[in-house]
Protein backbone atom coordinates (compact mmCIF):
# COMPACT_ATOMS: atom_id res chain seq x y z
CA UNK A 1 0.00 0.00 0.00
CA UNK A 2 2.74 2.43 1.02
CA UNK A 3 5.96 2.02 -0.85
CA UNK A 4 8.99 4.21 -0.50
CA UNK A 5 12.61 4.56 -1.33
CA UNK A 6 14.41 7.62 0.01
CA UNK A 7 17.79 9.19 0.41
CA UNK A 8 18.44 12.40 2.22
CA UNK A 9 21.60 13.92 3.60
CA UNK A 10 21.57 15.76 6.90
CA UNK A 11 24.61 17.39 8.42
CA UNK A 12 25.29 14.56 10.82
CA UNK A 13 24.06 11.53 8.92
CA UNK A 14 22.34 10.25 5.86
CA UNK A 15 18.97 8.61 5.44
CA UNK A 16 18.89 5.80 2.94
CA UNK A 17 15.84 3.65 3.25
CA UNK A 18 13.29 1.61 1.37
CA UNK A 19 10.31 -0.31 2.69
CA UNK A 20 6.71 -1.27 2.01
CA UNK A 21 3.69 -1.33 4.28
CA UNK A 22 0.64 -3.48 3.75
CA UNK A 23 -2.94 -2.15 3.63
CA UNK A 24 -4.73 -2.48 6.95
CA UNK A 25 -1.67 -3.26 9.01
CA UNK A 26 0.55 -1.49 11.53
CA UNK A 27 4.14 -1.04 10.45
CA UNK A 28 6.58 0.28 13.04
CA UNK A 29 9.72 2.25 12.40
CA UNK A 30 11.86 1.33 15.35
CA UNK A 31 15.21 2.73 16.37
CA UNK A 32 16.90 4.79 19.05
CA UNK A 33 16.18 8.50 19.36
CA UNK A 34 17.97 10.55 16.74
CA UNK A 35 18.16 7.87 14.08
CA UNK A 36 15.99 9.76 11.62
CA UNK A 37 12.62 8.10 12.23
CA UNK A 38 10.72 11.36 12.56
CA UNK A 39 12.46 12.77 9.50
CA UNK A 40 11.28 9.75 7.55
CA UNK A 41 7.63 10.23 8.38
CA UNK A 42 7.97 13.96 7.85
CA UNK A 43 9.11 13.05 4.35
CA UNK A 44 6.11 10.78 3.88
CA UNK A 45 3.84 13.59 5.09
CA UNK A 46 5.48 16.12 2.78
CA UNK A 47 6.83 18.36 5.54
CA UNK A 48 10.45 17.54 4.64
CA UNK A 49 11.50 17.07 1.02
CA UNK A 50 13.97 14.21 0.53
CA UNK A 51 16.98 14.67 -1.76
CA UNK A 52 16.05 11.76 -3.99
CA UNK A 53 13.64 8.86 -4.05
CA UNK A 54 10.02 7.92 -4.48
CA UNK A 55 6.96 7.66 -2.23
CA UNK A 56 3.83 5.90 -3.42
CA UNK A 57 0.49 5.17 -1.76
CA UNK A 58 -1.31 2.53 -3.79
CA UNK A 59 -0.95 3.76 -7.37
CA UNK A 60 -0.74 7.40 -6.30
CA UNK A 61 2.75 8.90 -6.51
CA UNK A 62 3.30 11.45 -3.72
CA UNK A 63 6.92 12.12 -4.44
CA UNK A 64 9.27 11.17 -7.23
CA UNK A 65 12.51 13.09 -7.59
CA UNK A 66 13.17 11.60 -11.03
CA UNK A 67 9.83 12.79 -12.40
CA UNK A 68 9.83 16.02 -10.42
CA UNK A 69 6.67 15.11 -8.51
CA UNK A 70 6.31 16.50 -5.00
CA UNK A 71 2.74 16.84 -3.69
CA UNK A 72 2.29 19.43 -0.93
CA UNK A 73 1.17 17.98 2.44
CA UNK A 74 -2.46 19.07 1.95
CA UNK A 75 -2.74 17.02 -1.25
CA UNK A 76 -1.34 13.80 0.18
CA UNK A 77 -4.44 12.75 2.16
CA UNK A 78 -2.43 11.27 5.00
CA UNK A 79 -3.23 11.63 8.68
CA UNK A 80 -0.41 12.62 10.98
CA UNK A 81 -0.48 12.26 14.77
CA UNK A 82 2.41 14.25 16.16
CA UNK A 83 4.38 13.45 19.28
CA UNK A 84 3.51 16.87 20.69
CA UNK A 85 -0.17 16.65 19.57
CA UNK A 86 -0.14 20.12 17.99
CA UNK A 87 -3.77 20.87 18.75
CA UNK A 88 -4.81 24.35 17.67
CA UNK A 89 -4.91 26.35 20.90
CA UNK A 90 -7.57 28.83 19.77
CA UNK A 91 -10.09 26.18 18.72
CA UNK A 92 -12.15 23.99 21.04
CA UNK A 93 -11.98 20.21 20.79
CA UNK A 94 -14.93 19.98 18.41
CA UNK A 95 -13.43 22.46 15.97
CA UNK A 96 -10.02 20.82 16.28
CA UNK A 97 -11.58 17.48 15.42
CA UNK A 98 -13.41 18.93 12.43
CA UNK A 99 -10.51 21.01 11.09
CA UNK A 100 -9.42 18.41 8.57
CA UNK A 101 -12.85 17.17 7.57
CA UNK A 102 -13.61 20.30 5.54
CA UNK A 103 -10.97 19.48 2.98
CA UNK A 104 -11.66 15.73 2.96
CA UNK A 105 -13.47 14.69 -0.19
CA UNK A 106 -13.18 10.96 -0.61
CA UNK A 107 -16.48 10.29 1.13
CA UNK A 108 -16.97 10.48 4.88
CA UNK A 109 -16.17 6.89 5.71
CA UNK A 110 -15.05 7.84 9.18
CA UNK A 111 -17.83 9.75 10.90
CA UNK A 112 -17.59 12.31 13.66
CA UNK A 113 -19.89 10.35 15.96
CA UNK A 114 -17.95 7.15 15.46
CA UNK A 115 -14.60 8.77 16.24
CA UNK A 116 -15.94 10.58 19.28
CA UNK A 117 -17.35 7.28 20.45
CA UNK A 118 -14.26 5.15 19.82
CA UNK A 119 -11.92 7.67 21.44
CA UNK A 120 -14.32 8.54 24.25
CA UNK A 121 -14.07 12.31 23.93
CA UNK A 122 -17.77 13.36 24.10
CA UNK A 123 -17.31 15.18 27.38
CA UNK A 124 -14.39 17.21 26.03
CA UNK A 125 -15.96 18.70 22.91
CA UNK A 126 -16.47 22.23 24.24
CA UNK A 127 -13.08 22.47 25.94
CA UNK A 128 -9.97 24.25 24.74
CA UNK A 129 -6.75 22.20 24.38
CA UNK A 130 -5.17 24.08 27.30
CA UNK A 131 -7.68 22.39 29.60
CA UNK A 132 -6.96 18.81 28.52
CA UNK A 133 -4.67 16.23 30.08
CA UNK A 134 -1.87 14.66 28.06
CA UNK A 135 -3.88 11.54 27.28
CA UNK A 136 -6.95 13.54 26.30
CA UNK A 137 -4.89 15.74 23.99
CA UNK A 138 -3.41 12.70 22.32
CA UNK A 139 -6.83 11.14 21.77
CA UNK A 140 -8.12 14.38 20.24
CA UNK A 141 -5.04 14.53 18.02
CA UNK A 142 -5.74 10.98 16.84
CA UNK A 143 -9.40 11.83 16.20
CA UNK A 144 -8.49 14.97 14.28
CA UNK A 145 -6.17 13.01 12.01
CA UNK A 146 -8.82 10.31 11.48
CA UNK A 147 -11.53 12.80 10.52
CA UNK A 148 -9.41 14.12 7.66
CA UNK A 149 -10.29 10.72 6.11
CA UNK A 150 -6.67 9.66 5.61
CA UNK A 151 -5.54 6.79 3.42
CA UNK A 152 -2.72 6.21 5.83
CA UNK A 153 -2.11 7.23 9.41
CA UNK A 154 1.36 8.38 10.46
CA UNK A 155 2.02 8.28 14.20
CA UNK A 156 5.19 9.76 15.64
CA UNK A 157 5.78 8.46 19.15
CA UNK A 158 2.19 9.26 20.11
CA UNK A 159 2.71 7.82 23.58
CA UNK A 160 6.09 9.32 24.39
CA UNK A 161 4.72 12.26 26.35
CA UNK A 162 2.08 10.23 28.15
CA UNK A 163 2.52 8.48 31.48
CA UNK A 164 2.70 4.71 31.59
CA UNK A 165 -0.80 4.25 33.04
CA UNK A 166 -2.37 6.07 30.12
CA UNK A 167 -0.27 4.31 27.54
CA UNK A 168 -1.94 1.00 28.19
CA UNK A 169 -5.23 2.88 27.84
CA UNK A 170 -4.38 4.26 24.40
CA UNK A 171 -2.65 1.21 22.91
CA UNK A 172 -5.93 -0.66 22.38
CA UNK A 173 -7.34 2.42 20.59
CA UNK A 174 -4.56 2.18 18.06
CA UNK A 175 -5.28 -1.50 17.47
CA UNK A 176 -8.94 -0.57 17.10
CA UNK A 177 -8.10 2.02 14.42
CA UNK A 178 -6.59 -0.69 12.31
CA UNK A 179 -9.37 -3.17 12.96
CA UNK A 180 -12.47 -0.93 12.84
CA UNK A 181 -11.38 1.55 10.18
CA UNK A 182 -9.16 -0.82 8.19
CA UNK A 183 -6.44 1.80 8.41
CA UNK A 184 -2.83 1.39 7.44
CA UNK A 185 -0.68 2.79 10.23
CA UNK A 186 2.98 3.80 10.19
CA UNK A 187 4.06 3.92 13.80
CA UNK A 188 7.33 5.49 14.92
CA UNK A 189 8.65 4.48 18.29
CA UNK A 190 11.79 3.90 20.30
CA UNK A 191 9.97 1.67 22.78
CA UNK A 192 10.33 -1.99 21.90
CA UNK A 193 7.37 -2.87 24.12
CA UNK A 194 5.04 -0.64 22.13
CA UNK A 195 6.41 -1.94 18.86
CA UNK A 196 5.94 -5.57 19.85
CA UNK A 197 2.51 -4.88 21.19
CA UNK A 198 1.29 -3.04 18.12
CA UNK A 199 3.19 -3.89 15.00
CA UNK A 200 2.42 -6.43 12.38
CA UNK A 201 5.69 -5.52 10.77
CA UNK A 202 8.73 -3.63 11.93
CA UNK A 203 11.51 -1.77 10.18
CA UNK A 204 14.61 -1.50 12.31
CA UNK A 205 16.49 1.73 11.69
CA UNK A 206 19.91 2.79 12.86
CA UNK A 207 21.61 6.00 11.71
CA UNK A 208 19.09 6.50 8.95
CA UNK A 209 19.69 3.09 7.45
CA UNK A 210 17.43 0.05 7.52
CA UNK A 211 19.05 -2.75 9.50
CA UNK A 212 16.25 -5.26 9.21
CA UNK A 213 12.64 -5.46 8.09
CA UNK A 214 10.09 -8.14 8.72
CA UNK A 215 7.38 -9.25 11.06
CA UNK A 216 8.00 -8.73 14.75
CA UNK A 217 8.38 -12.47 15.43
CA UNK A 218 11.16 -12.72 12.85
CA UNK A 219 13.08 -9.65 13.95
CA UNK A 220 12.85 -10.35 17.65
CA UNK A 221 14.12 -13.90 17.22
CA UNK A 222 17.37 -12.69 15.67
CA UNK A 223 20.17 -12.77 18.21
CA UNK A 224 22.38 -10.52 16.09
CA UNK A 225 19.94 -7.61 16.41
CA UNK A 226 19.88 -7.46 20.19
CA UNK A 227 22.19 -4.47 20.26
CA UNK A 228 19.56 -2.57 18.28
CA UNK A 229 16.34 -3.95 19.73
CA UNK A 230 17.63 -3.56 23.28
CA UNK A 231 19.37 -6.16 25.36
CA UNK A 232 17.30 -5.85 28.50
CA UNK A 233 13.99 -6.62 26.84
CA UNK A 234 15.37 -9.18 24.42
CA UNK A 235 13.09 -12.12 23.87
CA UNK A 236 11.19 -14.00 21.25
CA UNK A 237 7.71 -13.00 20.15
CA UNK A 238 5.29 -15.86 19.51
CA UNK A 239 2.28 -15.56 17.24
CA UNK A 240 -0.55 -17.32 18.96
CA UNK A 241 -4.29 -17.80 18.77
CA UNK A 242 -6.63 -17.80 21.74
CA UNK A 243 -7.63 -21.44 22.06
CA UNK A 244 -9.18 -22.03 25.44
CA UNK A 245 -10.09 -20.33 28.68
CA UNK A 246 -10.10 -21.97 32.08
CA UNK A 247 -12.64 -20.03 34.14
CA UNK A 248 -11.73 -21.65 37.46
CA UNK A 249 -8.11 -20.58 37.30
CA UNK A 250 -8.48 -17.56 34.99
CA UNK A 251 -5.97 -19.18 32.66
CA UNK A 252 -5.96 -18.64 28.91
CA UNK A 253 -4.45 -21.12 26.48
CA UNK A 254 -2.68 -19.56 23.52
CA UNK A 255 -2.00 -22.02 20.73
CA UNK A 256 1.23 -21.62 18.80
CA UNK A 257 3.36 -23.80 16.56
CA UNK A 258 5.13 -25.48 19.49
CA UNK A 259 2.07 -26.21 21.63
CA UNK A 260 -0.07 -24.18 24.01
CA UNK A 261 1.20 -21.28 26.06
CA UNK A 262 -0.78 -20.68 29.23
CA UNK A 263 -1.05 -17.15 30.58
CA UNK A 264 -3.16 -15.54 33.28
CA UNK A 265 -5.93 -13.01 32.95
CA UNK A 266 -6.42 -12.61 29.21
CA UNK A 267 -10.10 -12.97 28.64
CA UNK A 268 -10.37 -12.66 24.87
CA UNK A 269 -12.61 -14.25 22.28
CA UNK A 270 -11.51 -17.61 20.99
CA UNK A 271 -9.66 -17.33 17.70
CA UNK A 272 -8.20 -13.89 18.39
CA UNK A 273 -4.63 -13.60 17.16
CA UNK A 274 -2.24 -12.56 19.89
CA UNK A 275 1.47 -11.79 19.94
CA UNK A 276 3.21 -12.87 23.12
CA UNK A 277 6.59 -11.43 24.05
CA UNK A 278 8.58 -13.98 26.06
CA UNK A 279 11.53 -12.20 27.67
CA UNK A 280 14.76 -14.17 27.32
CA UNK A 281 15.46 -13.65 31.01
CA UNK A 282 12.14 -15.34 31.93
CA UNK A 283 13.07 -18.58 30.16
CA UNK A 284 14.97 -21.27 32.04
CA UNK A 285 16.43 -24.50 30.69
CA UNK A 286 16.54 -28.12 31.88
CA UNK A 287 18.25 -31.15 30.40
CA UNK A 288 15.37 -33.50 31.30
CA UNK A 289 11.63 -33.07 31.36
CA UNK A 290 10.93 -31.45 34.72
CA UNK A 291 8.63 -33.22 37.17
CA UNK A 292 6.85 -31.74 40.15
CA UNK A 293 7.26 -28.15 38.97
CA UNK A 294 5.01 -25.12 39.40
CA UNK A 295 5.91 -24.00 35.92
CA UNK A 296 2.97 -24.50 33.56
CA UNK A 297 4.75 -23.89 30.30
CA UNK A 298 7.31 -26.54 29.41
CA UNK A 299 8.36 -27.00 25.80
CA UNK A 300 10.89 -29.35 24.33
CA UNK A 301 13.27 -28.03 21.71
CA UNK A 302 16.68 -27.97 20.10
CA UNK A 303 19.34 -25.33 20.51
CA UNK A 304 19.90 -23.78 17.10
CA UNK A 305 22.09 -20.79 17.83
CA UNK A 306 24.29 -19.47 20.62
CA UNK A 307 25.22 -15.81 20.91
CA UNK A 308 28.36 -15.56 22.99
CA UNK A 309 29.68 -12.06 23.37
CA UNK A 310 32.14 -12.97 26.08
CA UNK A 311 30.17 -11.67 29.08
CA UNK A 312 28.79 -13.60 32.03
CA UNK A 313 25.55 -14.28 30.12
CA UNK A 314 24.71 -15.99 26.84
CA UNK A 315 21.64 -15.85 24.64
CA UNK A 316 20.42 -19.12 23.16
CA UNK A 317 17.95 -19.58 20.37
CA UNK A 318 15.92 -22.75 20.79
CA UNK A 319 13.58 -24.22 18.24
CA UNK A 320 10.42 -25.34 20.03
CA UNK A 321 8.41 -25.38 16.81
CA UNK A 322 9.06 -21.68 16.65
CA UNK A 323 12.17 -19.84 17.84
CA UNK A 324 12.40 -19.06 21.56
CA UNK A 325 15.24 -17.13 23.17
CA UNK A 326 16.68 -17.95 26.57
CA UNK A 327 19.26 -15.96 28.49
CA UNK A 328 21.37 -17.99 30.92
CA UNK A 329 24.64 -17.56 32.77
CA UNK A 330 27.90 -18.78 31.34
CA UNK A 331 28.22 -21.02 34.39
CA UNK A 332 24.94 -22.82 33.64
CA UNK A 333 25.89 -23.03 30.01
CA UNK A 334 29.13 -24.80 30.90
CA UNK A 335 27.65 -26.91 33.73
CA UNK A 336 24.88 -28.24 31.48
CA UNK A 337 27.39 -28.71 28.69
CA UNK A 338 25.09 -26.97 26.20
CA UNK A 339 25.84 -26.68 22.52
CA UNK A 340 24.08 -26.16 19.20
CA UNK A 341 21.78 -29.04 18.16
CA UNK A 342 21.47 -30.30 21.73
CA UNK A 343 17.97 -31.27 22.90
CA UNK A 344 16.63 -29.24 25.83
CA UNK A 345 13.49 -28.44 27.83
CA UNK A 346 12.47 -24.80 28.18
CA UNK A 347 10.33 -23.45 30.98
CA UNK A 348 8.35 -20.22 31.02
CA UNK A 349 6.49 -19.02 34.11
CA UNK A 350 2.92 -18.18 33.15
CA UNK A 351 2.88 -15.25 35.55
CA UNK A 352 6.05 -13.78 34.06
CA UNK A 353 4.27 -12.97 30.83
CA UNK A 354 3.20 -9.35 30.90
CA UNK A 355 -0.47 -9.28 30.08
CA UNK A 356 -0.22 -5.77 28.68
CA UNK A 357 2.43 -6.84 26.20
CA UNK A 358 -0.03 -9.13 24.47
CA UNK A 359 -0.99 -7.43 21.24
CA UNK A 360 -3.66 -8.31 18.74
CA UNK A 361 -2.39 -9.07 15.25
CA UNK A 362 -3.91 -7.75 12.05
CA UNK A 363 -6.84 -9.75 10.75
CA UNK A 364 -5.99 -11.51 7.55
Amino acid sequence: MLELNLTHRFQEFQINLAFKAKQGSITSLFGRSGTGKTSIINMIAGIVTPDTGMIKVGEDVLFDSAKGINLPPEKRKLGYVFQDCRLFPHLDVRRNLLYGSKAAQNGKKITFDHVVDVLGVHTLLERKPANLSGGEKQRVAIGRALLSQPRLLLMDEPLASIDIQLRSEILPYIEDLRDTFGLTVIYVSHSIDEVIRLSDKMVLISNGIKQAEGNVEEIMSRLDLHSLTGRFNAGAVLSTTVESYDVDYDLTGLAFKGGTLRVTGVNLTKGTSIRAHILARDVSLMLHRPVGTSILNVFEGTIIEVADEGGPQLDLKIDIGTPLIARITRKSFNDLDLAVSKNIFTMIKAVAIDRRSLGRSALD
Binding site: A45, P73, E74, R86, Y99, G100, K102, A103, S148
Partner: protein, 230 residues
Protein backbone atom coordinates in the same frame (compact mmCIF):
# COMPACT_ATOMS: atom_id res chain seq x y z
CA UNK B 1 -13.00 76.29 31.83
CA UNK B 2 -14.25 72.98 30.48
CA UNK B 3 -16.02 74.34 27.45
CA UNK B 4 -13.70 73.72 24.52
CA UNK B 5 -13.87 76.19 21.68
CA UNK B 6 -14.80 75.04 18.16
CA UNK B 7 -11.13 75.33 17.15
CA UNK B 8 -10.13 73.00 19.95
CA UNK B 9 -12.84 70.49 19.04
CA UNK B 10 -11.67 70.68 15.47
CA UNK B 11 -8.13 69.80 16.62
CA UNK B 12 -9.56 66.78 18.45
CA UNK B 13 -11.58 65.45 15.53
CA UNK B 14 -8.71 66.12 13.14
CA UNK B 15 -6.36 64.18 15.40
CA UNK B 16 -8.72 61.21 15.51
CA UNK B 17 -9.13 61.29 11.74
CA UNK B 18 -5.39 61.50 11.10
CA UNK B 19 -4.63 58.71 13.61
CA UNK B 20 -7.35 56.45 12.19
CA UNK B 21 -6.04 56.90 8.66
CA UNK B 22 -2.51 56.40 9.84
CA UNK B 23 -3.51 53.03 11.33
CA UNK B 24 -5.42 52.13 8.18
CA UNK B 25 -2.32 52.82 6.08
CA UNK B 26 0.18 51.05 8.35
CA UNK B 27 -1.87 47.91 9.07
CA UNK B 28 -1.70 46.11 5.68
CA UNK B 29 1.90 47.14 5.00
CA UNK B 30 2.87 46.44 8.59
CA UNK B 31 1.31 42.97 8.52
CA UNK B 32 3.10 42.12 5.28
CA UNK B 33 6.46 43.54 6.39
CA UNK B 34 6.22 41.79 9.76
CA UNK B 35 5.48 38.49 8.01
CA UNK B 36 8.47 38.91 5.68
CA UNK B 37 10.82 39.86 8.48
CA UNK B 38 9.63 37.05 10.76
CA UNK B 39 9.31 34.21 8.28
CA UNK B 40 11.51 34.85 5.25
CA UNK B 41 15.28 34.77 5.03
CA UNK B 42 16.64 36.56 1.99
CA UNK B 43 19.48 38.71 0.79
CA UNK B 44 18.96 42.19 2.19
CA UNK B 45 16.93 41.04 5.22
CA UNK B 46 19.09 43.08 7.59
CA UNK B 47 18.85 46.13 5.35
CA UNK B 48 15.04 45.98 5.18
CA UNK B 49 14.96 45.51 8.93
CA UNK B 50 17.11 48.63 9.35
CA UNK B 51 14.99 50.75 7.03
CA UNK B 52 11.76 49.71 8.75
CA UNK B 53 13.08 50.72 12.18
CA UNK B 54 14.75 53.92 10.99
CA UNK B 55 11.88 56.27 11.97
CA UNK B 56 12.23 54.99 15.53
CA UNK B 57 15.79 56.26 15.86
CA UNK B 58 15.88 59.28 13.54
CA UNK B 59 14.82 62.73 14.73
CA UNK B 60 11.22 63.15 13.48
CA UNK B 61 12.25 66.41 11.82
CA UNK B 62 14.51 64.41 9.51
CA UNK B 63 11.57 62.27 8.44
CA UNK B 64 9.49 65.41 7.93
CA UNK B 65 12.22 66.94 5.81
CA UNK B 66 12.53 63.75 3.80
CA UNK B 67 8.77 63.66 3.22
CA UNK B 68 8.76 67.28 2.14
CA UNK B 69 11.55 66.55 -0.33
CA UNK B 70 9.70 63.52 -1.67
CA UNK B 71 6.07 64.65 -1.55
CA UNK B 72 6.37 68.41 -1.97
CA UNK B 73 5.04 69.78 -5.26
CA UNK B 74 8.61 69.73 -6.61
CA UNK B 75 9.51 66.33 -5.12
CA UNK B 76 9.43 63.23 -7.36
CA UNK B 77 6.52 61.53 -5.56
CA UNK B 78 4.61 64.79 -5.04
CA UNK B 79 4.97 65.85 -8.68
CA UNK B 80 3.81 62.41 -9.82
CA UNK B 81 0.75 62.47 -7.57
CA UNK B 82 -0.16 65.98 -8.66
CA UNK B 83 0.34 65.36 -12.39
CA UNK B 84 -1.51 62.04 -12.58
CA UNK B 85 -4.18 62.26 -9.87
CA UNK B 86 -4.26 65.94 -9.05
CA UNK B 87 -3.55 65.21 -5.39
CA UNK B 88 -1.44 67.37 -3.14
CA UNK B 89 -0.40 65.85 0.17
CA UNK B 90 2.01 68.52 1.42
CA UNK B 91 0.25 70.91 3.81
CA UNK B 92 -2.95 68.81 3.89
CA UNK B 93 -4.40 66.46 6.51
CA UNK B 94 -3.63 63.51 4.19
CA UNK B 95 0.02 64.51 4.46
CA UNK B 96 -0.34 64.57 8.25
CA UNK B 97 -1.72 61.02 8.08
CA UNK B 98 1.24 59.90 5.95
CA UNK B 99 3.74 61.47 8.35
CA UNK B 100 2.01 59.82 11.31
CA UNK B 101 1.90 56.49 9.47
CA UNK B 102 5.61 56.50 8.77
CA UNK B 103 6.42 57.34 12.37
CA UNK B 104 4.06 54.62 13.65
CA UNK B 105 5.16 51.96 11.16
CA UNK B 106 8.10 50.52 13.16
CA UNK B 107 5.93 50.11 16.25
CA UNK B 108 3.24 48.29 14.28
CA UNK B 109 5.78 46.02 12.57
CA UNK B 110 7.54 45.23 15.80
CA UNK B 111 4.38 44.19 17.65
CA UNK B 112 3.11 41.98 14.82
CA UNK B 113 6.51 40.51 14.05
CA UNK B 114 6.96 39.36 17.64
CA UNK B 115 3.61 37.60 17.56
CA UNK B 116 4.47 35.97 14.21
CA UNK B 117 7.64 34.65 15.77
CA UNK B 118 5.61 33.23 18.64
CA UNK B 119 3.41 31.14 16.36
CA UNK B 120 4.81 27.63 16.25
CA UNK B 121 5.41 26.73 12.58
CA UNK B 122 4.70 23.15 13.65
CA UNK B 123 1.03 24.09 14.14
CA UNK B 124 0.95 25.38 10.58
CA UNK B 125 2.59 22.19 9.33
CA UNK B 126 -0.03 20.18 11.23
CA UNK B 127 -2.80 22.17 9.54
CA UNK B 128 -1.25 21.45 6.14
CA UNK B 129 -1.28 17.70 6.84
CA UNK B 130 -5.00 18.08 7.61
CA UNK B 131 -5.61 19.24 4.06
CA UNK B 132 -5.51 23.01 4.51
CA UNK B 133 -3.95 25.14 1.76
CA UNK B 134 -1.32 27.71 2.79
CA UNK B 135 -3.96 30.44 2.46
CA UNK B 136 -6.44 28.63 4.70
CA UNK B 137 -3.66 27.93 7.21
CA UNK B 138 -2.92 31.66 7.28
CA UNK B 139 -6.43 32.87 8.01
CA UNK B 140 -7.61 29.95 10.14
CA UNK B 141 -4.48 29.34 12.24
CA UNK B 142 -1.84 32.06 11.92
CA UNK B 143 -4.10 35.11 11.89
CA UNK B 144 -6.15 34.17 14.98
CA UNK B 145 -2.96 33.30 16.85
CA UNK B 146 -1.31 36.63 16.08
CA UNK B 147 -4.47 38.67 16.71
CA UNK B 148 -3.24 39.90 20.13
CA UNK B 149 -0.10 41.19 18.41
CA UNK B 150 -2.11 42.89 15.68
CA UNK B 151 -4.25 44.52 18.32
CA UNK B 152 -1.19 45.74 20.21
CA UNK B 153 0.23 47.05 16.94
CA UNK B 154 -2.96 48.97 16.16
CA UNK B 155 -3.10 50.57 19.59
CA UNK B 156 0.58 51.50 19.55
CA UNK B 157 0.32 52.96 16.06
CA UNK B 158 -2.83 54.88 16.97
CA UNK B 159 -1.26 56.34 20.10
CA UNK B 160 1.96 57.21 18.28
CA UNK B 161 -0.06 58.93 15.54
CA UNK B 162 -2.04 60.99 18.05
CA UNK B 163 1.20 62.26 19.54
CA UNK B 164 3.07 62.88 16.28
CA UNK B 165 4.60 66.35 16.22
CA UNK B 166 8.03 66.79 14.63
CA UNK B 167 7.53 65.10 11.28
CA UNK B 168 4.06 66.58 10.94
CA UNK B 169 4.97 70.18 11.57
CA UNK B 170 7.96 69.90 9.23
CA UNK B 171 6.04 68.23 6.42
CA UNK B 172 2.56 69.76 6.55
CA UNK B 173 3.08 72.77 8.83
CA UNK B 174 0.54 73.84 11.45
CA UNK B 175 -2.64 74.94 9.66
CA UNK B 176 -5.75 75.18 11.88
CA UNK B 177 -8.52 72.92 10.60
CA UNK B 178 -6.23 71.16 8.14
CA UNK B 179 -3.05 69.93 9.83
CA UNK B 180 -3.25 71.32 13.34
CA UNK B 181 -3.68 68.12 15.36
CA UNK B 182 -3.81 68.09 19.17
CA UNK B 183 -0.05 68.38 19.84
CA UNK B 184 0.31 71.08 17.21
CA UNK B 185 -2.69 72.99 18.54
CA UNK B 186 -1.32 72.77 22.07
CA UNK B 187 2.01 74.07 20.79
CA UNK B 188 0.27 77.02 19.11
CA UNK B 189 -1.81 77.86 22.19
CA UNK B 190 1.26 77.84 24.40
CA UNK B 191 2.91 80.27 22.02
CA UNK B 192 -0.15 82.55 22.04
CA UNK B 193 -0.59 85.07 24.91
CA UNK B 194 -3.65 84.04 26.94
CA UNK B 195 -3.80 80.59 25.37
CA UNK B 196 -2.91 78.76 28.59
CA UNK B 197 -6.49 77.78 29.45
CA UNK B 198 -7.03 76.37 25.96
CA UNK B 199 -3.72 74.53 26.12
CA UNK B 200 -4.68 73.01 29.48
CA UNK B 201 -8.03 71.85 28.09
CA UNK B 202 -6.34 70.14 25.18
CA UNK B 203 -3.74 68.59 27.47
CA UNK B 204 -6.50 67.13 29.64
CA UNK B 205 -8.28 65.93 26.51
CA UNK B 206 -5.07 64.27 25.30
CA UNK B 207 -4.58 62.52 28.60
CA UNK B 208 -8.18 61.28 28.63
CA UNK B 209 -7.83 60.03 25.06
CA UNK B 210 -4.56 58.22 25.75
CA UNK B 211 -5.97 56.65 28.91
CA UNK B 212 -9.11 55.48 27.12
CA UNK B 213 -7.04 53.95 24.35
CA UNK B 214 -4.84 52.13 26.85
CA UNK B 215 -7.81 50.77 28.80
CA UNK B 216 -9.52 49.63 25.65
CA UNK B 217 -6.36 47.90 24.47
CA UNK B 218 -5.92 46.14 27.81
CA UNK B 219 -9.49 44.90 27.63
CA UNK B 220 -9.24 43.75 24.02
CA UNK B 221 -5.87 42.08 24.66
CA UNK B 222 -7.41 40.21 27.58
CA UNK B 223 -10.29 39.03 25.40
CA UNK B 224 -7.93 37.98 22.62
CA UNK B 225 -5.67 36.11 25.01
CA UNK B 226 -8.67 34.30 26.43
CA UNK B 227 -9.71 33.27 22.96
CA UNK B 228 -6.28 31.96 22.01
CA UNK B 229 -5.37 30.22 25.24
CA UNK B 230 -8.77 28.97 26.29
Amino acid sequence: MFNPTPTELEALSLSLKVAAWSVAITLPFGLFTAWILARKRFYGHALLNGIVYLPLVLPPVVIGFFLLAMFGRQGPAGAFLYDTLGITVAFTWQGAAIAAAIMAFPLMVRAIRLSFENVDPKLEAAARTLGASPLRVFYSITLPLISPGILAGIILAFARSLGEFGATITFVSNIPGETSTLPLAIFSLIQTPGGDAGALRLVILSIALALAALLLSEYLAYKAKLKVEG
